[in-house]
Symmetry: C2
Subunit: 243 residues, 2 copies
């Protein structure tokens, strides 16, 4: 049976980290909110958020249904899918390490989101633009280098080589790092202009992931939405400081 | 061998979610940064953050060492410890559900942190107080009710009763929810004055957790640090709006 992915239509957002893993593995899945089939669509997703009628209701999309199993939060979904898709290490320590890296990516994604919404997720960007300018400065100056420097350091220290971040084979973490590099470059073309020089292993990993056969096909398909100003990574020139 | 918990000295912070699980289970553990034994202390913790010398280095505290195993991020640590401490369900769906709830708590904790640091974690509170006032308003008006309403709804819908949030026995998630209620009440005495009326099951869960024998003993021990203005939950009257 096909995996059912539930995420908002019209943006890559947090759902994209799941899509990349499913696509790379060539898994059979339905992107429910984006499907026009009967019984699909956004309403089919939002009604699953009601705890009165749904067992194990998620707090928010993305979530995944696999038969009877219902799983929410990107890192939790990838923890579940990783071994099934052949995108996770077999060793328990490495699995927890991969999950910890994914949770660090989760934190980074939240900080990227907050560059454009530092005050309230329920208010318009325009109404918090001043704070957004300040938060973006701090993000590009302090936080982005801290996160990317960490991932670069882990890649450099991998005893199996720097072509994957965990163990000796590509995992869902590598695919998520591809998305991080692509997203940061979209949102901050000035702020990331030295990315290749500053984080060579991370950027090489990005390029290698983009060349994997299924990912390459996916990126040019219409299933891959373009980055836009509804997602996590938004291009607002006034937030794109030189770093 | 004792579990080794690594977290900053002097604050409850994110480490407290781990401490509560270890304490409730009566587990043998050492709080390394707070220990004055030879080879312990904060330096013993920070040198483990170097990827050149540490296999599986964490991005940041808290992290846990259990013999050869090294695990970082609160939710990841509790995922690992839960079954060992008798504080997690046995069923796979319930384990993923518990983990998803813990990740929702993680997101809430980040939002609480950002009420006092909405612009930059590397800058003083005083230098971002104006933005903090705005972010706290939005937090108390929109975000806190969204999170607490979700947990209340999950408790109410638990087919095994509302005295625990997952399945039919107390888990690490219940202990984390205790900390959330206690922390929010500390930080926002005005903003939480109707908590008991608005979220009766959640507040009853808090009270029940506080009465568990090991937790009761822990809360009056000197191992339990007081809430203070270095942690996640900080009491700044100017951020404590009526909600």
């Amino acid at each position: 049976m096909a995996y059912e992915l539930f995420y908002w239509d019209g943006l890559q957002g947090r759902g994209e980290f799941i899509r990349l893993a499913l696509e790379d593995a060539g898994a059979d899945y339905v992107d429910i909110a984006r499907s026009s089939k009967k019984g699909h669509g956004t309403k089919a997703m939002t009604r699953l958020l009601d705890p009165k009628t749904t067992p194990f209701p998620p707090f928010a999309p993305p979530f995944l249904r696999d038969g009877e199993m219902m799983i929410s939060h990107v890192a939790n979904i990838l923890l579940y899918l990783g071994p099934k898709l052949g995108l996770a290490p077999a060793d328990a320590q490495l699995q927890h390490f991969a999950h910890g890296l994914q949770l660090t990516i989760t934190d980074l994604v939240t900080e990227v989101h907050d560059t454009h919404h530092p005050i309230s997720t329920d208010a318009y960007y325009e109404d918090q633009e001043g704070a957004a300018v300040e938060r973006s400065k701090a993000f590009l100056l302090h936080r982005m280098p801290k996160y990317l420097g960490y991932f670069e350091g882990i890649l450099a220290a991998n005893p199996h080589g720097n072509t994957q971040i965990v163990g000796d084979a590509a995992s869902y973490v590598d695919l998520s790092l591809f998305q991080i590099v692509a997203g940061l470059r979209y949102a901050f073309p000035r702020g990331t202009q030295n990315l290749g020089a500053d984080y060579p292993a991370l950027c090489a990993l990005h390029d290698a992931m983009a060349e994997r056969a299924n990912i390459k096909r996916y990126l040019t398909s219409k299933r891959r939405l373009a980055f836009n100003e509804h997602g996590i990574f938004r291009r607002y020139p006034e937030l794109d400081h030189l770093s």
